[in-house]
């Protein structure tokens, strides 16, 4: 269970998070939606400790994330970054097996390579991709490698930051299906950030809408279309008219 309680984060004079309250149950797939610059990425980066909130507490399974062994804490997480964030200087298999080649989860090199190739296969990539470098792959392939890296160490909690941004509709569909399959198969807790409503419907058990630094609406995906929240309805239907300013 991940819980955010009254989380605030300000950059200079820009208060991005103004009291975010959110909880994600174990095994649940939560999708956070919201306009650009509303703090969706900051929310998940706060959970990972990449950003330190000024106020509020974040707990995972009841334990405050700022206490305890950081390596052990991070070993429970996997993350797919928006742009893939693959390490340019390493071949694909070493990107995927990065966590398995060093630190507390270190395995023998051959075993790590085997796991990497298996994870690449799991996301629909052939073994011959393993020895190529990130710059030699298309955007969609890089996303899939990022996904393989996120699941390589079989984490309990996976974050997906705009997994389908910049991809064509077919590749977006492939990624959405992969995410759903992996989350169900691994029984992992997932938090996904996206603007893509097709992704929301494909991935989510529940949806939270972030607006103006707070959670505007939170509920099951099945209730999203019938909810009477005007902010949510404007966003999911992509209307220019409504309570959310089109020009921000």
């Amino acid at each position: 269970m991940i819980t955010l309680d009254n989380v605030h984060k300000t950059f200079g004079t820009n208060a991005v998070l103004r009291g975010v309250n959110l909880s994600v149950a174990k095994g649940e797939s939560l999708v956070i939606i919201g306009g650009s610059g509303t703090g969706k990425s900051i929310t998940i980066k706060s959970v990972l400790g990449l950003v330190t909130p000024e106020h509020g507490t974040i707990t995972v399974d009841g334990k405050n994330i700022s206490n305890g062994d950081r390596d052990a804490f991070l070993a429970r997480f996997g993350m797919l970054f928006q742009g893939g964030a693959l390490f340019d200087s390493l071949p694909i298999w070493q990107n995927v097996a990065f966590r398995l080649l060093r630190g507390s989860l270190k395995r023998p090199k051959d075993e790590a390579r085997e796991i990497a190739i298996e994870k690449l296969r799991r996301v629909g990539l052939k073994p011959d991709v393993a020895d190529r470098f990130p710059a030699e792959l298309s955007g969609g392939m890089q996303k899939r490698v990022g996904l393989a890296r996120a699941i390589a160490a079989e984490p309990e909690i996976i974050f997906f930051d705009e997994p389908t941004t910049g991809l064509d509709p077919i590749m977006s569909g492939v990624i959405n299906e992969l995410i759903r399959e992996i989350v169900v198969e691994m029984g992992a807790t997932a938090m996904t950030i996206t603007h893509d409503m097709t992704s929301v419907r494909a991935i989510a058990d529940s949806v939270a809408m972030l607006h103006d630094g707070v959670i505007q609406w939170h509920g099951p995906v099945s209730e999203m279309d019938t909810a009477d929240d005007p902010y949510l309805q404007q966003f999911i239907h992509g209307r220019a008219e409504g309570p959310i300013d089109a020009v921000r």
């Binding site: 991070l74 070993a75 340019d88 060093r102 630190g103």
Partner: protein, 261 residues
């Protein structure tokens, strides 16, 4: 009155910004040193850094030293002729190379080559979230990116300086023998006889300090790079400029420490 105060206010803001920058760089340096002695250690990354910063800088440092040694011999010969002191060319070339020009020019050339590429590489990693990815993969960016580069530069610069010293002296020798009619054996004898251990050692110590500065500036500006291509470009420029200025400033301070009467 306001018009008069505006430049003063700008000077004050500039001074405060400079002091804040010095403070941040000092904290970054302390952080780097503290990670230097705490595991885990990334030997493979250190090996890569040693190859790139040390071995691949040899041509640029060697060529710089060769031409500098030659030019130095010509200058000292022309200047010495005014006092009938042409014979000092070998010893002054040697002392000038090992004490000053070897470490300083070597440091500046490596600053241009290494600080720029480290800042660009680390800066690009920052803007493409690769540094965030490192953290999520339980890898500390200071240990994985900064420590191997700083250690490699600190250890390899003295070696580069030593090689540069030898090549620079050989440059002076070639010019001395072929253009200035020195006897080869006498030139080498004068070079060795007047050179003291501390002349060489002080240059190597300077090289180690300059190596630390070069890699530290590259990593600092890369880690603090702004967004986008412009941010990375600015980080690269700042890394080279600040490394060069710090090399020249620390060279003066080290010379004061080593050789002041």
């Amino acid at each position: 009155m306001t018009a008069l105060l505006t430049p003063v206010a700008a000077l004050g803001r500039g001074t405060l910004s400079l002091l804040a920058l010095i403070g941040r760089i000092t904290l970054f340096a302390i952080d780097t040193l503290s990670h230097l002695v705490r595991p885990p250690f990334y030997f493979k990354e250190f090996g890569h850094a040693l190859l790139y910063i040390g071995y691949l800088s040899l041509p640029v440092v060697g060529l710089t030293a060769l031409f500098t040694g030659g030019a130095l011999a010509l200058q000292i010969y022309a200047g010495g002729a005014r006092f009938n002191a042409e014979a000092v060319v070998p010893s002054i070339v040697a002392i000038g190379m090992v004490r000053e020009l070897g470490p300083v020019l070597g440091g500046l050339m490596v600053a241009g080559r290494v600080a720029a590429s480290v800042a660009a590489e680390v800066g690009t990693m920052k803007v493409t979230e690769q540094i965030d990815a490192l953290v999520t993969l339980s890898t500390h960016p200071m240990k994985y990116l900064t420590v191997p580069r700083v250690l490699a530069a600190t250890l390899s610069l003295p070696v580069l300086v030593a090689v540069g010293d030898v090549i620079g002296i050989m440059g002076g020798y070639v010019v001395g023998v072929t253009r200035l009619d020195f006897n080869g054996a006498v030139y080498l004898s004068n070079t060795v006889d007047f050179l003291e251990f501390w002349d060489v050692a002080s240059g190597l110590v300077k090289g180690a300090v300059f190596g630390f500065i070069v890699a530290l500036m590259g990593c600092y500006h890369g880690m603090n790079s702004g967004r986008g291509a412009q941010g990375v470009g600015r980080a690269t420029t700042n890394a080279v400029v600040s490394a060069s200025v710090m090399i020249l400033a620390s060279n003066y301070l080290l010379t004061e420490v080593f050789f002041s009467a």
